[in-house]
Symmetry: C2
Subunit: 291 residues, 2 copies
C-alpha cells in the first residue's frame, strides 16, 4: 500500500488507548497534526507536553474541519453524548472510528447520531487494554502485534473501512473482522467476566475483618489474578452496563460451574477435581503455545 | 547467628520448592550433602545432573541416618504415606519440616505418624509457588524476600523451630508465625479460592463450542487472570481436599458476592457497580504500595 499520511486526526479521550494511537501514528510518520479533546485538562496538558497531541481542542467546528480521522476513545458510556455533539460538524470525507470495548451499544449509538455519516463510521476495538489508564500510560508500541477487531456495518463504506484498517496496521495491529454481536459475546467471556470476577474477589477480601492480614500474605499468584481489578472503575462500569445482557449470561454459566465445584468439594471427589483442573491447565497451555 | 552448616539434608519431592530449597542452601554454602527422593526418576536424574541434589535416595534407613534436616515437599495428599514410611528411620536429632500449602491436615498427619519425633517436627509453608512445577523450574533465589510461614505446635522444640527458621533465612525468606488454622484461613482466601476460580473459568471457556475463537482473542488480562490455572492439578486437588471445609466457606461467600453483582447488572445499577469496582481497585493499589 502507499504510505499512509493523515493531515489531521482528532482524538476524543487521550488516555492509554487514544494516546498510544497518536504516538504510534507519529512514530510511523503517518500523521501531521493531532488534536485532543477530553474531560481532564491536566491529562490533556500532559499529552501536549509529552508530544502525544499537537493541540488541545477548543471548539468542535474548528477542530473537526477537514479532519481525516476521528477516534472516539472515551469510556463507552460517553459515546452517546460525544457522537451527538460532533455529528453536526463532521465533514463529508471525515472517517470516524472508535476504540470502545463493546460494539453493539456503540453501533446503536452511531445509528442514532450519525444518520448522514453512517457510511463513514467504522466501529473497532483494539485489544490492548491494561490496568493502567491516562496518557501517562500511553506508549507508541502498545498495539504492536495486538488484535484490532473491526465490526463494520452493512452501511460502512469500503474505502472508509480500508482507511481505518490501514491506520491500525501502521500502529502495528493485526486486523480481524467480526459482527458487533460476535464481538460482544467473545469479549464477555474472555474479558468482561474475568474483570467482574477479579473486582469481586478483591472486594470480598477488602471487606473482611482481617483484610490487612490477608493482603499481607497475598503473593504473586494473587497479584496476577487480580491485576485487572486495578483497571478504571468508570470504564468497566460502562462496559458492564453496555454488554450486560450477554455478560449476565456468562456470569450465570460461571455461577453454575462454581456450584459444581462446590459440590465436588463437599463430596471430597478428588478424581473429578483433578480432571477439571487438568482440563483447564491443558487448554490454557495449548492456548499459550499458539500465542 | 553463627554460620549455618548442615551436613545432610534429605528432600522428599525435588520439584519447584524442594529443588529451589536445595539450590538456595548450596549457593549459601549451608549444606554439604543433599539426598533427593521422589516418584519420577527422570526428575531426580535431572536434579542430580543440574547439581540440585548430590545423590538420589535409594533406601530410607541409609538416607535418613544422621540427616540434619528432612524437607517434605510433595503434594500434601502424599504426606500421610511418606511420614509413615520415614518415621521408623528418623534419628533423635533429625529435624523434619515441610512445605505443604495447607497446615491443619499436615499437622494431623504428623501427630498420627510422628508420636516420638513430634517435638522435632516444624510445620512450615514457603509462599513462593508459581504455575511451574518440577525441578526444571527450581532456582536458587525463589525464596528471596518471600514469606515463610511457620506454624509450630505446642510440642515443637524451640531449638528445632530456630533451626528451621535459620535454614529458611539462609534461603532469603522472611519468617512469620501463625497457628495452622489461621494459616489455612488466610491462604484459603488469597490463594486456594483464586486457584479454584481461575481453573473454573478456563474450564468453562474450554467447554464452549466456540472455545477456539475465544482463546484466539484472549489477551494479556486473561493470561494474567488465568496464570494460576497453569498450576499442577495434582497439587491443587490435594490442597482443595485438605482445606475443603474452610475453602468451601470462602467459596460460598464469593458466590454470594457474585449474586449481588448479578443483581446490580440486572438492575443496571451503574453507581453501585462503580462503587464496588472503585473499592476493589483502591484496596489493591494500597496493597501494592506496601508490597
Amino acid at each position: 500500500m502507499a504510505k499512509l499520511l493523515l493531515n489531521k486526526v482528532v482524538i476524543f479521550g487521550v488516555g492509554l488507548i487514544g494516546g498510544s494511537f497518536a504516538l504510534a501514528l507519529k512514530r510511523a510518520g503517518a500523521v501531521r497534526h493531532v488534536v485532543g479533546f477530553g474531560r481532564s485538562v491536566a491529562n490533556l496538558r500532559l499529552a501536549l507536553k509529552r508530544g502525544v497531541i499537537d493541540e488541545i481542542g477548543t471548539t468542535l467546528p474548528r477542530a473537526l474541519r477537514d479532519a481525516d480521522v476521528v477516534l472516539l476513545a472515551m469510556p463507552v458510556g460517553r459515546m452517546q453524548q460525544v457522537m451527538k455533539r460532533i455529528a453536526p460538524h463532521l465533514s463529508a470525507h471525515t472517517i470516524v472510528t472508535d476504540a470502545g470495548s463493546t460494539k453493539q451499544d456503540v453501533v446503536t449509538c452511531a445509528r442514532k447520531n450519525f444518520s448522514k455519516q453512517l457510511k463513514n463510521f467504522v466501529p473497532a476495538h483494539p485489544i490492548a487494554g491494561t490496568e493502567h489508564s491516562g496518557v501517562r500510560a500511553a506508549t507508541a508500541d502498545l498495539f504492536q502485534n495486538r488484535d484490532l477487531i473491526v465490526t463494520p456495518l452493512k452501511e460502512t463504506d469500503k474505502k472508509a473501512l480500508r482507511r481505518v484498517q490501514d491506520t491500525w496496521l501502521v500502529c502495528g495491529a493485526r486486523i480481524s473482522e467480526m459482527t458487533p454481536r460476535q464481538h460482544d459475546e467473545v469479549f464477555a467471556a474472555v474479558s468482561h467476566l474475568p474483570h467482574l470476577l477479579a473486582y469481586g474477589l478483591v472486594y470480598v477480601i477488602a471487606g473482611k475483618p482481617n483484610a490487612k492480614e490477608l493482603f499481607k500474605y497475598a503473593a504473586g499468584g494473587f497479584r496476577d489474578f487480580t491485576r485487572i481489578a486495578g483497571s478504571s472503575p468508570e470504564m468497566w462500569r460502562d462496559i458492564a452496563l453496555a454488554n450486560r445482557k450477554i455478560l449476565l449470561k456468562e456470569l450465570v454459566e460461571y455461577q453454575k460451574q462454581l456450584k459444581r465445584v462446590a459440590a465436588l468439594l463437599q463430596k471430597g471427589d478428588g478424581k473429578a477435581l483433578e480432571r477439571l483442573f487438568t482440563r483447564a491447565r491443558n487448554a490454557r497451555q495449548k492456548w499459550l503455545l499458539k500465542n
